[in-house]
Symmetry: C2
Subunit: 442 residues, 2 copies
């Protein structure tokens, strides 16, 4: 596994540092707790947490470099004593969080930070970006995973992702939420995710005849070939693929699949399946790509398309139907005092919190209770735990495979109705008596 | 200016390298030209080009590192002779492209690559990601710039962008398309973009009384303060801001502005303006944020909101109404032979191309002609030029300020109807006689 590059503390909004300068000026040094959560989304019944590893890796090496201090000085907004303070600043706080791969719901803290206020404030922007974007991708991926109903999904989104680490994180986050792999080699190298792929239309066009392209590819990938058959005419392409597939079979190999990337997928996949089966190539799988997301997967499968595996790209990689999570990071406690915000439509819950999950007799999620962190609620499982104390990780990073396994186990405990991609089913989330009482005290 | 980090050639889809391995195996080494363009978007009348600098910086240092070769070897998919070939591979092709900040339309090549086919193929994914995502952000930014009608826009999107470089590129791309600056410090450092900001609700909550927070901030930023007034009650917050604003004035300073981040912005901004004006604080600007994009800007301004400047975040940073550009990279010429793809709904235009723009007597864009690269079209301006030859940049990178100035000049030549944020007005794009004839020859 290759380490991600340092992001650096300038990955923040200017106001985080001007507020910090004011705290420094006023000797405001108390401990603050901030709670990170997502507000309700009209398009999502549930969210899947991801991004914690990015957060912990970065916080463990949080420090301003000389050139970063020099830049801040150049802005003319910061006094020398504050810059000297920043130069020695390290993150020494605690992080209380849900593990990656957890299922969570609106208003539930995914993560809480407790640290001297300047430290806790400066990291806000970075935390929201990391947890928000990666949970966005994981949540979208889980919807596809559910809809594909056991058929493998491969992430093809790198080319249309909203940037470089977006592409990497789509691969990692959708792998957590059940994808079989990615076409993204850098994600393969960095996260040890299985990589796979087929061929492009340009490859076919490079040869005089489509069949020449298939043969050339089969020659070096006799057991890993998936032929793209829609460059000129899909049905004719399927016949050419059959011809080469039979040649491969004779030589003791096997064509792995054919891919369709355009046209009427219901009609074409049925006809292609027929052509393959009539040639005895039952083992050759049909891969489909082009604009797939949970909605298209659902529509095609319910209408009889014969698809064995999906390449999903653009719409999943940009979470196109809901391209951001409304994640926020709110001060909930400062200097021992509970704090809440009352802006219209943007109220927050004061206090250091915990999420307790009730499990029914069948092992299914039956409702959550947001409570105070030091409460104990009988028969419910607390979801957050300390993952960093005084700036040090509490344990080694979990293996990505383990996070993925945990996700699958969590997801199987989520009742099916909340997995609906078309209908809103708000999952029951209550507040504990202790939390309600604490709000009234303020 | 700080240099961006190397991205590396593993930022690609697996199939780019398996196809390359096949070309290598078959000694297919001819020159290929690929054309990068966007397909039609239901939500955009025009696009703004960005991302070329990322492309050129990376191609100039394109090389596989030892650990990248080692990873490829580990996949078991590549023969040693091919890996040895990759080890010495550099990008030696040419790039023919529109400058950043250009206005472009569906099907028009933004960029064409000519290189030995393996080189041209491997960089596909990276080029689409860089040009696609950055042009997406620039295009969204231009719509906001148009709608704000001269009022300054500041990019606040870092926390909700779809990743780290997404956040950086939103700042850079929207600065190209006319934004006044960003809250993003790393973008400020890296691209020398003006940074600005206000304060967060958490800052207000940290103090016992709202007015204490305003005074503390004014004490160290007597000429750079924008008070956030909606933490508890916006109208009461405005009165507190007035009180501190008058104190600042007495001391020879000036409150720069107040910010509203919630509530009924039409009613509240009018009342806040009234409170400020009655106190004689005419110079204090009203900043508004919270869910702004071109649609909300338009709605509030046409309904009489008194807003002087906008902080735009989430919806712009994720281009929420249209979160991806349908950019493609298609083989159009190989080994001297014109090439095109005929897949249903995905046809391409063969040949090395140029975009010619007609300008009317008033200096406005009057229609484009996509032609062959070696054509000359009377009275029309060619938009693409060579920016890299044999892997070397043709000229130094332009300054970001110059790109921004060019955008403003280009944008002022685009007739207003195409700038409509609500209505579709397809801009006239024809094909030249030479290009049409070339398609028929194939």
């Amino acid at each position: 596994m290759i380490k991600a590059q340092r992001i650096g503390p300038l990955f923040t909004d200017l106001y985080e540092l001007t507020m910090a300068a004011s705290y420094f000026d006023r000797h405001i040094e108390g401990n603050a707790t901030f709670s990170l959560f997502a507000r309700e989304s009209a398009a999502r019944n549930f969210f899947v947490s991801a991004g914690l590893e990015t957060v912990l890796a970065e916080l463990a090496c949080f420090a301003f470099a000389d050139q970063e201090i020099a830049y801040l000085k150049d802005t003319g907004l910061f006094a020398d004593d504050f810059l000297s303070f920043l130069k020695t600043l390290r993150f020494k706080g605690s992080i209380f969080a849900m593990p990656e791969g957890s299922i969570f719901f609106p208003d539930e803290p995914v993560l809480e930070v407790t640290a001297p206020i300047i430290q806790a404030q400066i990291i806000e922007t970075f935390l929201l970006n990391a947890i928000g974007s990666q949970s966005l991708f994981a949540s979208k991926g889980a919807r596809c995973f559910h809809t594909a109903d056991g058929r493998p999904l491969v992430d093809f989104s790198l080319r249309r992702a909203q940037g470089q680490d977006a592409g990497l994180n789509v691969a990692r986050s959708t792998y957590i939420s059940g994808f079989a792999g990615t076409s993204n080699l850098l994600a393969g190298q960095r996260y040890n995710i299985p990589v796979s792929g087929t061929m492009a239309h340009s490859y076919i066009s490079t040869f005089e005849h489509e069949i020449d392209a298939f043969r050339a590819y089969a020659a070096i990938y006799p057991d890993h070939s998936v032929f793209l058959i829609d460059t000129y005419d899909t049905i004719e392409g399927a016949r050419q693929a059959v011809q080469v597939g039979l040649e491969m079979k004779k030589q003791g190999h096997a064509l792995k699949g054919v891919r369709l990337d355009s046209g009427d997928m219901i009609d074409l996949t049925c006809r292609v399946r027929d052509i393959l089966d009539k040639a005895g190539l039952f083992e050759v799988k049909i891969y489909a790509s082009s604009g797939f997301d949970e909605f298209k997967i659902h529509e095609l499968l319910t209408n009889g398309a014969r698809i064995d595996a999906f390449g999903v790209g653009t719409k999943v990689g940009s979470s196109a139907d809901a391209p951001y999570l409304d994640v926020v990071y709110k001060l909930v406690k400062f200097n021992g005092r509970l704090v809440r915000k009352l802006s219209p439509g943007k109220k927050t819950l004061a206090g250091e919190k915990q999420v307790f999950r009730k499990i029914d007799a069948g092992g299914f999620y039956a409702g959550d209770i947001i409570g105070l962190r030091d409460e104990a609620i009988d028969g419910a499982t607390p979801l957050l735990s300390y993952v960093m104390r005084q700036g040090e990780r509490v344990s080694l990073p979990p293996a990505l495979e383990d996070i993925r396994t945990d996700f699958k186990s969590n997801f199987s405990a989520l009742p099916d109705k909340y997995k609906s991609i078309h209908q809103r089913h708000p999952y029951p989330v209550e507040l504990s008596e202790g939390l309600v009482a604490a709000q009234k005290e303020i």
